[in-house]
């Protein structure tokens, strides 16, 4: 092919790229192919830990995401909540991202209702408090310090589930679903300072940051992005849920981005490595 052609490719209007990405994301949403999702060990270990817990023990599922990262993290948190409730575990939850407080409350209510769980007895939502790092340290001493009342204004002592539950040492484990750098605080304070067993569910771009903590066993599991959520859904036997259904679109979009990179590089070399962006 001539250099002129590759020059044309290099100068292609970016709106064509936007259009292609739009189409390759949208079309697989219409027709579910069901690409096979392989289970990774880091996701399996979160599942195994929850599976090994005795009914009635308390799992803390703090959720820090807002509508921006909800596409990745909401399927994940829903799968974890479903797993906990189906195993008759009690769930304690917080939301340290102000834009997501209502989103998370809504999810908790809906999924708890699916399993016939009762608020205060089977799950408790503490809601939001500013200055997350200080709140995490405070919760390590006593949940009642930063949260004398829950999200709905009930005193923690009035909630049956919270009787005798003082701090992280009363929890079986923490599975933090986090779309912010706040995940670091959970590692530093909840795990580092207070020794709480911790797993993380984070966005795909964040996941690479936490493999070091997985290796050092500061976290016992890691669920990364929508793929991690799809794995978790598969583990709990919900293969048709949103994360699995989105895997087709994610796969095709990734392939097209890789194709764009390859075409861009061919054009770059064919046009004599001109320094252009």
């Amino acid at each position: 092919m001539t250099q002129a052609f590759w020059h044309k490719i290099m100068d292609i209007d970016r709106r064509w790229i936007y259009l292609v990405i739009g189409i390759v994301t949208f079309v697989p949403m219409l027709r579910y192919i069901g690409m096979p999702v392989q289970i990774t060990s880091e996701v399996k270990s979160v599942y195994d830990r929850i599976e090994s817990l005795q009914p009635g023990t308390i799992v803390m599922v703090p959720m820090e995401f807002d509508p921006a990262t909800a596409a990745e993290l909401q399927p994940m948190s829903r799968a974890i909540l479903r797993h906990c409730f189906s195993r008759n575990l009690k769930v304690l939850s917080t939301a340290f991202m102000i834009d997501g407080v209502v989103l998370i409350e809504n999810d908790l209510k809906v999924i708890a209702a699916e399993y016939g769980k009762v608020y205060g007895k089977d799950y408790v939502y503490l809601g939001y408090k500013p200055y997350m790092e200080v709140v995490l340290l405070n919760m390590g001493e006593n949940f009642r310090k930063p949260f004398p009342k829950d999200y709905y204004g009930n005193k923690l002592d009035d909630l049956p589930m919270m009787k005798g539950v003082n701090n992280y040492s009363n929890l079986a484990c923490i599975v933090n679903v986090n779309g912010t750098s706040g995940a670091d605080f959970w590692i530093n304070y909840a795990n580092g300072r207070y020794g709480a067993p911790l797993a993380l569910g984070v966005t795909a771009v964040m996941a690479t940051d936490y493999y070091a903590f997985l290796q050092s066993k500061q976290i016992f599991g890691l669920i990364g992005g929508l793929k991690g959520a799809a794995e978790y859904e598969k583990l709990i036997g919900r293969n048709k849920d949103i994360a699995n259904r989105s895997m087709d679109a994610v796969s095709v979009a990734h392939v097209f981005i890789i194709l764009f990179i390859i075409i861009g590089n061919i054009a770059f070399f064919a046009t004599g490595r001109e320094k252009r962006i």
């Binding site: 994301t25 096979p36 509508p67 940051d209 861009g264």
Partner: protein, 216 residues
């Protein structure tokens, strides 16, 4: 005195918080607990400073017709509107059919999600235009990024499923994440940790004083 008092407070609080970690005595624990409560209370006041600063900045933009001043009007109107609607209904956040929550679900939520979703398009365009194998290091980055991308999606395993275990995209991606990535991240974390410790020490001892402000 204007400088000495804040320096003394930082020295006393910093030194105490560093040492109390190693002192399990109940007095130390009680002071620590109180310090945590104080931090939240003091922190709340920064909200006032933050709102004041936001209003100041956008008021100035509108007043002097600076770049994009019209967006500043939207910011200030939204700030006032949401505050008034929120305060006018005592349980605004717990009423899904109330105006406050309607604005959250049908305006704010889609706006935030849309802004973030646009990233996919920008990343695709940027990948096409900027991700070039200009030299050996850039080529290594390019190659590992492509392998990790393919290894993290189902199609990666479909493409290399016929290969023996250990050679599939997901296995190579896992190796990249577990070893080169973890080694680099760990080095960065240790560096950052040492930097934070050194800077904290300088602040506690009053060597680093830029946080006092004043420009000098």
């Amino acid at each position: 005195m204007k400088r000495e008092v804040p320096l003394a407070i930082v020295f006393i609080c910093g030194t105490f918080m560093a040492f109390q970690y190693f002192v399990p005595h109940y007095i130390s624990a009680a002071i620590y607990q109180n310090a945590l409560n104080w931090t939240i209370i003091v922190g709340i006041f920064t909200l006032v400073v933050g709102i004041g600063s936001l209003v100041d900045l956008h008021y100035d933009r509108i007043r002097f017709r600076k770049d994009s001043w019209k967006y500043s009007i939207v910011t200030l109107v939204s700030l006032v509107l949401m505050t008034v609607i929120g305060l006018s209904s005592p349980n605004a956040i717990q009423n899904p059919r109330g105006l406050f929550m309607m604005i959250y679900f049908y305006v704010l939520s889609p706006v935030i999600a849309t802004m973030f979703a646009l990233l996919a398009f920008f990343i695709a365009s940027a990948a096409f235009r900027a991700f070039r194998a200009r030299n050996v290091l850039a080529s290594l980055l390019l190659l590992s990024a492509m392998i990790v991308m393919l290894g993290r999606i189902p199609i990666g395993d479909m493409l290399t499923g016929w290969l023996p275990e250990g050679l599939r995209f997901s296995d190579i991606a896992r190796y990249i994440l577990d070893y080169p990535n973890t080694a680099a991240k760990r080095a960065i974390y240790i560096g950052v940790g040492l930097g934070v410790a050194a800077t904290s020490l300088k602040i506690i001892l009053g060597i680093e004083r830029t946080w006092l402000g004043g420009g000098q």
